[in-house]
């Protein structure tokens, strides 16, 4: 069988974190009742006109600068014409002829290999409304709350060859954009969406094969599955002597298959032309410099600094900096308690576990880093032991409680009183003759059980180091 190479380019849509829509003063907040965040502009009323939100331009520029793009000195909006009920004007205001950013790249790393992925362009456009199916009437219902929410579309070059590269590229874009504060980039909620352009060709061929575009993947895993599925489908067709048809396909992650979105009424001829209602945008060097000056420290730089300044291992620094929120918590808590290593441990162990249990995006953590710092101070001062600390941290994480008050109120202070510890240990030894004997017969592990029993007897508040010492002494 022939060997095939997969060629992938991505069109990534990112919803920008502006307060208002791109062309009107309606809120972009999630969760409003249907059509409550609407006005004549974003519902396409006759006579309404768009006025551009300046912040959209600044976010688009910031993302372009962070991805090494050239920023256009003059850019314009164009109309993309197609009929669909989620698109109230039946044209989308987008950019085709003069996009704001072009010719950029980002560096990704897969299995230790570094690679540059080219960015063809980034353009600004408006999002569509939401359609939901109404089973009672076998009709669809339209809500324009999302209509006009600003998007940037980041179009890559066809530089990726595997789903690992695709995911590394998406992770790179996501952290970069999150660091800029330009978007929260959540795939699940649709604030980051990736359309995959994929073709296959025989290894060694310099020509590209015919590509398809796949939409509707809402997680990295779904993207990986869609890539594998589409690669297999295209190879199968080629092996059967059938051509790959250039088309848009919808990925159904439940069925693990894609389906062509073709329709006779869907000519895919968008009749782009310059938007006459919006004058051009002229971008000066000074404006670019201003945006550049506001650029934050990005992941790679942060990671290097955490290793150099705080002595974090590369692995830990990578995990912590992969979320802007996590890095912010790390820095804030470290600044207060001065113990980077301990903060890192809380993030790497307890936090990762809690996030996983709650299936939560790190960006959604909302506790005060000061409370983590206070907790660490309690540990360092020996006021609580580490298992109590874990328990208290869960409350910090979930309810943002003040650990000092919480420990006080719940009587969780560590018992360091030797007299009290000794009498409990003596009692535990008396109650567990079998373990004592095992220990004396050389089963040194048995001491662990006795420590555990002592901790239990003291409701977890015993100083574990002291318990250990007393046990060793009494069992000699």
């Amino acid at each position: 069988m022939k060997q095939y190479e997969t060629v992938i380019g991505l069109e990534v849509h990112v919803e920008l974190a502006t307060k208002t829509k791109i062309f009107c003063g309606c809120s972009t907040a999630f969760g409003g009742a249907p059509n409550t965040h609407t006005c004549p502009v974003c519902t396409g009323m006759p006579g309404s006109l768009p006025v551009l939100n300046k912040q959209v331009v600044e976010y688009a520029m910031a993302v372009g600068l962070a991805t090494n793009c050239d920023i256009a000195r003059e850019c314009k909006f164009d109309r993309k014409n197609y009929f669909y009920p989620d698109n109230p004007q039946n044209y989308q205001i987008s950019q085709l002829y003069k996009p704001i950013c072009t010719n950029g790249h980002v560096e990704i790393e897969v299995n230790g290999n570094k690679k540059q992925i080219g960015i063809h362009e980034i353009h600004m456009e408006e999002d569509a409304g939401k359609l939901v199916h109404d089973p009672w009437e076998d009709a669809s219902l339209v809500d324009y709350n999302r209509s006009g929410v600003p998007l940037i579309e980041i179009v890559s070059e066809p530089d990726m060859r595997s789903s690992e590269e695709v995911i590394a590229y998406l992770e790179k874009l996501r952290t970069t954009i999150q660091y800029l504060g330009a978007s929260d980039c959540k795939l699940q909620e649709g604030s980051m969406r990736a359309d995959v352009n994929l073709s296959v060709r025989e290894v060694g061929s310099s020509e590209f094969g015919t590509r398809t575009e796949m939409k509707n993947m809402s997680s990295f895993k779904a993207i990986a599955r869609a890539i594998a599925g589409e690669r297999a489908r295209q190879i199968e067709r080629l092996e059967d002597g059938l051509p790959v048809i250039q088309e848009t396909r919808r990925w159904d992650d439940n069925k693990e298959a894609s389906f062509a979105m073709r329709s006779k009424e869907d000519a895919q001829d968008y009749r782009y032309f310059p938007e006459p209602d919006l004058p051009p945008i002229v971008i000066s060097d000074e404006w670019i410099d201003n945006v550049k000056a506001k650029e934050p420290e990005f992941k790679d730089a942060k990671m290097a600094r955490y290793q150099a300044d705080f002595g974090l291992p590369a692995y830990d620094a990578d995990i912590i900096t992969s979320s802007k929120k996590m890095a912010d918590i790390f820095e804030a808590a470290t600044a207060i308690c001065g113990d980077a290593k301990k903060v890192s441990n809380f993030l790497m162990v307890d936090t990762m576990r809690l996030l996983k249990d709650a299936e939560m995006d790190p960006e959604d953590m909302s506790f005060d880093p000061e409370n983590l710092a206070k907790l660490i101070k309690l540990v360092v001062a020996g006021a609580i032991n580490s298992s109590v600390a874990s328990e208290v941290y869960e409350h910090v994480f979930k309810e943002n409680i003040d650990p000092e008050k919480y420990v006080e109120e719940h009587g969780l202070k560590q018992v360091n009183d030797e007299g009290a510890l000794r009498s409990t240990v003596e009692q535990v030894i008396a109650e567990n003759p079998q373990s004592v004997e095992d220990y004396k017969n050389g089963k040194t592990k048995a001491i662990g059980f006795l420590v555990g029993q002592t901790m239990k007897a003291m409701k977890g508040k015993a100083n574990p180091g002291m318990v250990n010492e007393i046990l060793q002494e009494l069992l000699k």
Binding site: P40, P46, G47, V51, P85, P88, R271, P276, L278
Partner: protein, 491 residues
């Protein structure tokens, strides 16, 4: 003299001096509409009498309290039906918007209301302003008050005819390719398309967004300047609205053209123009020359290219602007349909008239894959060259003078059978929109049948005041204009 023969400014003065009450003015106007409009059909919607009188009472109070002191306070007005009026049916003369009641008013209308004007109705027009005769309206043709067998021109035919007939003192129109100036010419009234961006387009139902501009239609130049001063504003809701240095258009009402350089494009007097129209235009030029203007003929190049460039640009923009009429959010939806695209197609095919469909089809075609460069880009390049030709002309002349149309108003029913011929009659007005220029049309004589002939004066971008001054000066030297049979019958 009847109230209805007064200009808007004259009526405003009588209201201010309490010689005439706001209610009396409104009543006279509504009675006049009631009497004449059954035949002329200038209006699509007449406002409820009680509502108008209630508004008149409020305005009267504000005038009496000294809160409303402007020249148009209390003066009744009609609005072309492609401008949104909050709570009042706004159809753009189309079946597809036959039941549309806007939730907000156009900025120009808001400005009139702030000035104390009393809106009495919405005027007829070509459907979506696409036409030159007001015959493409879903609500029937408007007739010319000078001769009811003739068209009033278009697309603002209802506004122009209503003013000419004395149904209202003044009206707003919109001008995409001559739609204020040409009907003003055919109806013997004065209408002006200001520099693009002078009046906000917010609330104007778009036809060709880069060309559309709202302007006044009234009885004389003083009215036009006064109304323009009232409706012009820099509007942050319209990104193409311009913050002008001057809004004091009435300051240009000066009878002085000494030393003003006026150019007459030779191409505007060549093939196709009726001799009577040509004579009237040249006689008007002589009058201005006699007042000290320097008048000469010159070659304005590219005249023959304006119409094809215009129709490409206007139809392309229209095809996109009219996509929103789809039966989903407002307006007409077809009775029966089985699926989405059928609903779209049936709604639009039943909701739009023939001329609108013709322009949408052409616009969609020229923007479609493979044709964009050859047609649309070519038209935009031509537009740039036309603009440059005007720049060169205005380096030499303050004002360009010419006819507004090659003929006087044609017979009803004579134009629609040949759309291309209808398009060609826009030859003197269209390039003004392509270049965004200000242009005014005012009466300058009559043909042998007694139909009015329109004189057009054009100036460079933002030189609206030059147009007003030249027009005002000509008006001062003009023999008394006659009144249309409908207005004359008042006395």
């Amino acid at each position: 003299m009847s109230l209805l023969s007064l200009t808007a400014v004259e009526l405003g003065k009588k209201i201010k001096s309490h010689e005439v009450s706001v209610a009396a003015a409104a009543t006279a106007v509504m009675d006049s509409i009631e009497k004449k409009d059954a035949e002329l059909n200038c209006f699509i919607t007449k406002l409820d009498r009680d509502a108008v009188l209630k508004r008149a009472e409020e305005v009267q109070k504000a005038i009496d309290a000294g809160e409303l002191t402007g020249p148009l306070a209390g003066v009744p007005v009609a609005i072309k039906d492609n401008m949104n009026t909050k709570g009042v049916l706004t159809t753009a003369a189309s079946k597809i918007l036959g039941n549309f009641v806007p939730t907000f008013s156009s900025e120009a209308v808001v400005n009139l209301e702030k000035a104390g004007c009393i809106i009495v109705g919405k005027t007829n027009m070509d459907e979506f302003a696409m036409g030159s005769t007001t015959e493409t309206s879903h609500f029937g043709a408007t007739k010319n008050p000078w001769d009811t067998n003739k068209v009033p021109g278009g697309s603002s035919g209802g506004s122009a005819a209503a003013v000419a007939a004395g149904e209202v003192p003044f009206a707003l129109g919109s001008d995409t390719g001559g739609s204020i100036r040409q009907p003003s010419g055919y109806c013997g009234v004065t209408g002006m398309k200001p520099t693009y961006g002078t009046v906000s387009r917010y609330g104007l139902i778009a036809y060709g967004s880069s060309l559309d501009q709202i302007g006044p239609i009234a009885k004389d130049v003083t009215d036009v300047a006064t109304i323009l001063e009232t409706i012009a504003s820099h509007d942050p809701k319209d990104s193409t609205s311009v913050k002008r240095e001057d809004y004091d258009f009435t300051s240009a009402l000066v009878d002085d053209v000494k030393g003003m350089k006026i150019g007459i494009p030779r191409d505007y007097l060549g093939e196709g123009i009726e001799p009577e129209v040509k004579d009237a235009i040249l006689a008007a030029a002589k009058k201005l020359e006699a007042k000290g203007a320097i008048v000469e003929e010159f070659d304005l190049s590219l005249v023959e290219y304006a119409i094809p460039a215009y129709y490409l640009i206007a139809c392309a923009e229209a095809s996109s602007n009219l996509e929103r009429f789809d039966g989903v959010k407002y307006g007409y939806r077809t009775e029966s349909y089985e699926e989405l695209h059928q609903m779209y197609k049936k709604t639009r095919s039943e909701g739009f008239g023939a001329e609108v469909k013709r322009r949408i089809m052409l616009g969609s075609f020229i923007l479609s894959s493979g044709y964009y460069d050859a047609y649309y880009l070519k038209a935009l390049r031509t537009k740039a060259m036309i603009k440059k030709a005007f720049d060169e002309a205005f380096a030499k002349y303050d004002v360009i003078l010419g006819p507004v149309a090659p003929t006087t108003a044609p017979e009803l029913g004579s134009s629609l059978s040949d759309p291309l011929k209808m398009y060609l009659s826009d030859i003197y007005t269209i390039s003004v929109n392509l270049a965004g220029l200000p242009g005014i049309c005012l009466p300058c004589g009559y043909d042998n049948a007694g139909m009015p002939i329109g004189l057009q004066l054009i100036a460079n971008n933002f030189d609206d005041k030059k147009v007003i001054r030249a027009a005002y000066s000509f008006e001062q030297s003009r023999e008394e204009t006659r009144e249309s049979q409908y207005l004359a019958s008042e006395d």
